[in-house]
C-alpha cells in the first residue's frame, strides 16, 4: 500500500482527500563523500545515503511536522522539497510534476512555495531596511503595481505583528523574534499556498516562541496555508501541526496524526523521542543507549536496531519498510508497539 492510499483513509475531520501538493515516492539522496581513512591524494569516495526510501504525501491545507534529531535527513529532505537538489533516486512530485521541472519553468513554483529559513538573520541582507526586504519579493513576482507597494508592505508588517515604524529599520536593530517575523513577512509576500519553515522558532525564548507560534497558527488558519514545519521540538509539533513524520537516519519511521502518534507511538524510536521530551516533574527516563550511528555504517537490518530497547533477532536481519498501521498511521517497524501493549515485545 502506498502512502497516498494510507492517507486517503477517511477521517472525521476531512470529507474528501485534498489534492496532494507534494508527493515523495521512494526518494533517495546519495552523496559521494570522501572515503573514511583514504590517503591524502586518493579520490576514493563512498555513497552516503542521506535519504533512503522516503515516502511522504503533503496534501493541500495540511500542516505537517518533520521531526528528527541531527543527522536524520530533515534538511536534505527540505532541499528536495524545494527543488534545490534533484533526488538521486525515486520521484519527488509537486502537484503531479517532478519538483525540479516545476522549479525550472517560470516563477509559479517559487511563488507558490515559500520558505522561512532557520537562520533568519543570515537570510536577510543587512544593508536593506525591513521595508526594502519585504518589497523585494513583491517586486520580483510582480505582486502589486509600484504605486501599491508601500501599502502592501505596511499591510504585511502589520500582519506579522511588527511595529509600524519597523519598515525603516535595519535587521541589526531588531531582536531575534522580530527578525523571524520579517522572514515570515517576506515569505508571505508572494502570496504562497505552501509555507516551508526550517526550525522557525528554535533558539528563541519561550515567550517569543509562543508569540511566533500563535502568529503561525493564525496565518495557517486564516490563509489556508499548507505548512511543512521542520522542528526537533515535539511540543511545537503537537501545537502547530495536525500530522507528524518522524525521521531517523534518512528514513521516515513513523507518520500519522500528531496527537495519535504522540499519544501512543508505534515505533520504538518515536517512543524514545516522546519520553526524552522534558515534562514537568516526570522523572527523567532511561535514555536510549548510544548515539545515532554513522550513515556510512548503517546497522544491518533495521537501522534503529543498534539502539532499540525492543529489538529482536529478526530486526538485525530484515529492514522494515513504512507500512500502514491504522487510521492514517504508518510505521516502519517489524514489531510496532501498540497502545494496549499486548504485542509489545519484551524489553531485554
Amino acid at each position: 500500500m502506498t502512502m497516498a492510499q494510507i492517507q486517503s483513509a477517511p477521517t472525521e475531520t476531512r470529507h474528501a482527500p485534498a489534492p496532494a501538493v507534494f508527493e515523495l515516492i521512494e526518494v533517495e539522496q546519495v552523496f559521494a563523500v570522501p572515503k573514511p581513512g583514504r590517503g591524502l591524494l586518493s579520490r576514493d569516495t563512498v555513497g552516503l545515503r542521506a535519504l533512503d526510501g522516503v515516502r511522504l504525501t503533503v496534501r493541500q491545507g495540511a500542516s505537517i511536522a518533520l521531526v528528527g534529531e541531527s543527522g536524520s535527513g530533515k534538511s536534505t529532505l527540505l532541499r528536495v522539497l524545494l527543488g534545490l537538489d534533484a533526488p538521486s533516486g525515486g520521484r519527488a512530485l509537486y502537484r503531479g510534476k517532478p519538483i525540479r521541472e516545476a522549479r525550472a519553468h517560470g516563477t509559479a513554483f517559487a511563488r507558490d512555495v515559500a520558505m522561512v529559513y532557520q537562520d533568519a538573520r543570515g537570510s536577510l541582507d543587512p544593508r536593506m531596511t525591513v521595508g526594502q526586504l519585504i518589497a523585494e519579493p513583491l517586486r520580483h513576482f510582480g505582486i502589486v503595481p509600484k504605486s501599491g507597494e508601500a501599502a502592501r508592505v505596511a499591510e504585511l508588517i502589520d500582519r506579522v505583528g511588527l511595529p509600524r515604524d519597523a519598515a525603516n529599520r535595519y535587521p541589526s536593530g531588531l531582536s531575534g523574534g522580530q527578525v523571524r517575523r520579517v522572514a515570515i513577512a517576506r515569505a508571505l509576500a508572494s502570496e504562497p499556498s505552501v509555507l516551508v519553515a526550517d526550525e522557525a522558532v528554535s533558539g528563541l525564548d519561550v515567550s517569543t516562541q509562543a508569540q511566533l507560534l500563535t502568529l503561525l497558527q493564525g496565518l495557517q488558519r486564516d490563509m489556508g496555508l499548507t505548512l511543512v514545519f521542520i522542528t526537533h521540538d515535539l511540543g511545537v509539533a503537537s501545537y502547530l501541526c495536525e500530522e507528524i513524520a518522524i525521521m531517523y537516519l534518512g528514513r521516515i519511521v513513523e507518520t500519522g496524526p500528531t496527537d495519535a502518534v504522540l499519544e501512543a507511538p508505534a515505533h520504538p524510536y518515536s517512543a524514545a523521542l516522546r519520553a526524552a521530551a522534558p515534562q514537568f516533574f516526570e522523572p527523567i527516563p532511561e535514555p536510549l543507549p548510544g548515539e545515532i550511528p554513522s550513515p556510512l555504517d548503517l546497522p544491518k537490518g533495521c537501522r534503529f536496531s543498534s539502539r532499540c530497547p525492543a529489538a529482536r533477532d529478526d530486526c538485525r536481519l530484515r529492514d522494515p519498510q513504512l507500512g500502514a498501521l491504522d487510521a492514517g498511521r504508518a510505521v516502519a517497524c517489524l514489531h510496532p508497539l501498540t497502545s494496549k501493549g499486548a504485542q509489545t515485545p519484551e524489553i531485554r
Partner: protein, 333 residues
C-alpha cells in the same frame, strides 16, 4: 539588602548552605545586568537558575567563577570554608577553580581546546588540581572517562575534540569539571546544543555524578520542565532580578510571581493546544523601571511597582529560611 537572608534557617532538613550569594550586582557600562541577586544553595542540592535570555542566569555562574570581564561586580558570595569568592585575591581563586568549584560550559565544542587531545586536557586538570604524577593522572583520566560513559576510554584519550560527537564532547567536559572533586558544580545550559535523547543522557550523568560525590550543582537552564525534572529548587530571574525562588514544586505549582506563571504558561507540553502568548518584550536597559523590572509587562502591575523594587519575602509564614519559597512582588497571585 532584604531581611530574608539574615533570618536563621528554620526548616528542619535545610543544612547550612554551601553557598550564600548576597546582593550580587553587576554593572556593564551604564547597564545593571544583575540587580541585587541573593540566593542560597544547600549542601548536596541541585538548583536551577531559569529565565529568558538577558535574565542574567549565565552572568551569575560566570561571576561566581570570577570569569566576568569588563564588568563591575558588587555583593558577596560566601562559599563555605573559602570565604567571599568575589573578594578573594586572584591567586587564591586560581586554586579554587577546579578543586572547589568548576563549570560545565554551554558549548563543549568551543570550550575545549581544539589543538590538544581530550586526554591531555583532562590530565592537565588532574595534575594541577590533585597534584598527580603523569602516570597517575593518566590512570585517573581513563577511570573518569569510564565513569562518564565514554566507550573505549583508553583510545579516546588521544582523540581531538573535533573527532568526537557533541554528546561525547559534553561528556569530556563533565569529566574535566569533575576531575578535581569540586563540591560546587556550575552547569551553564549543558545540553542546549544537543538532541533531546542525548540531553537526557547528559543531564542524568551530571545528576548521578554530583550525587555520588555529595556535591552541589547550579544548573543554568531555559527549559522550565527540564528544571522541574532535574533540580530540587528553582530560582526564577527576570532582567537581572530574582523574582521567585524555592523548592521546584512550590515555585511552579504554587507560583506567586506573575512572571513565573507567565513563563510556565509558555511551555508547550506535548498535546497542549492552548497557548497564550505574552505581550511585549524585556525593556532595554536604558528604559528599565527602577522598581520591579517586570512592571512594564505585568498584568497585575500596581502604580507603586515601577518605582519601588519589591523585596524577596517568604511565601509562607512558617517557612522563612533562605532555602524556602520566596517571591518579590507587590501584588502576588
Amino acid at each position: 539588602m532584604n531581611d530574608m537572608t539574615s533570618h536563621p534557617v528554620t526548616t528542619q532538613d535545610a543544612a547550612e548552605p554551601i553557598l550564600r550569594l548576597e546582593g550580587l550586582t553587576v554593572h556593564r557600562g551604564a547597564a545593571k545586568i544583575l540587580d541585587r541577586v541573593s540566593l542560597s544553595l544547600g549542601r548536596g542540592e541541585t538548583l536551577a537558575l531559569v529565565g529568558e535570555s538577558g535574565a542574567g542566569k549565565s552572568t551569575i555562574a560566570t561571576a561566581l567563577m570570577r570569569l566576568l570581564d569588563g564588568a563591575r561586580v558588587e555583593g558577596r558570595a560566601e562559599l563555605d570554608g573559602a570565604g567571599d569568592l568575589l573578594a578573594l585575591p586572584e591567586r587564591r581563586m586560581v586554586r579554587l577553580r577546579g578543586s572547589r568549584l568548576s563549570m560545565i560550559f554551554q558549548d563543549a565544542g568551543s570550550a575545549l581546546n581544539p589543538s590538544y587531545t581530550v586526554g591531555r586536557q583532562l590530565t592537565t586538570t588532574l595534575r594541577r588540581t590533585l597534584g598527580l604524577s603523569r602516570a597517575e593522572a593518566r590512570a585517573k583520566a581513563v577511570e573518569l572517562f569510564t565513569s562518564v560513559g565514554i566507550n573505549d576510554p583508553d583510545g579516546r584519550m588521544s582523540a581531538f575534540p573535533h573527532q568526537l560527537s557533541g554528546g561525547m564532547q559534553q561528556r569530556v567536559m563533565v569529566a574535566i569539571a569533575l576531575a578535581g572533586n569540586p563540591d560546587l558544580l556550575l552547569a551553564d545550559e549543558p545540553t542546549s546544543a544537543l538532541d533531546v535523547t542525548i540531553q537526557a543522557q547528559i543531564v542524568r550523568l551530571i545528576l548521578a555524578q554530583t550525587r555520588a560525590r555529595g556535591a552541589s550543582c547550579i544548573f543554568v537552564l531555559h527549559d522550565l520542565a527540564l528544571a522541574s525534572q532535574s533540580c530540587d529548587r528553582i530560582v526564577v530571574l527576570y532582567a537581572g532580578q530574582v523574582v521567585e525562588s524555592g523548592p521546584s514544586r512550590e515555585v511552579l505549582e504554587r507560583s506567586r510571581h506573575p512572571y513565573t506563571r507567565q513563563l510556565k504558561s509558555c511551555v508547550l507540553e506535548i498535546g497542549s493546544k492552548d497557548l497564550t502568548a505574552p505581550e511585549g518584550t524585556v525593556p532595554p536597559h536604558s528604559e528599565m523601571p527602577v522598581g520591579c523590572r517586570f512592571a512594564t509587562r505585568c498584568p497585575r502591575a500596581l502604580p507603586r511597582c515601577a518605582g519601588e523594587a519589591p523585596p524577596l519575602v517568604p511565601a509562607r509564614d512558617d517557612a522563612t529560611g533562605p532555602l524556602d519559597h520566596q517571591f518579590a512582588c507587590w501584588n502576588p497571585e
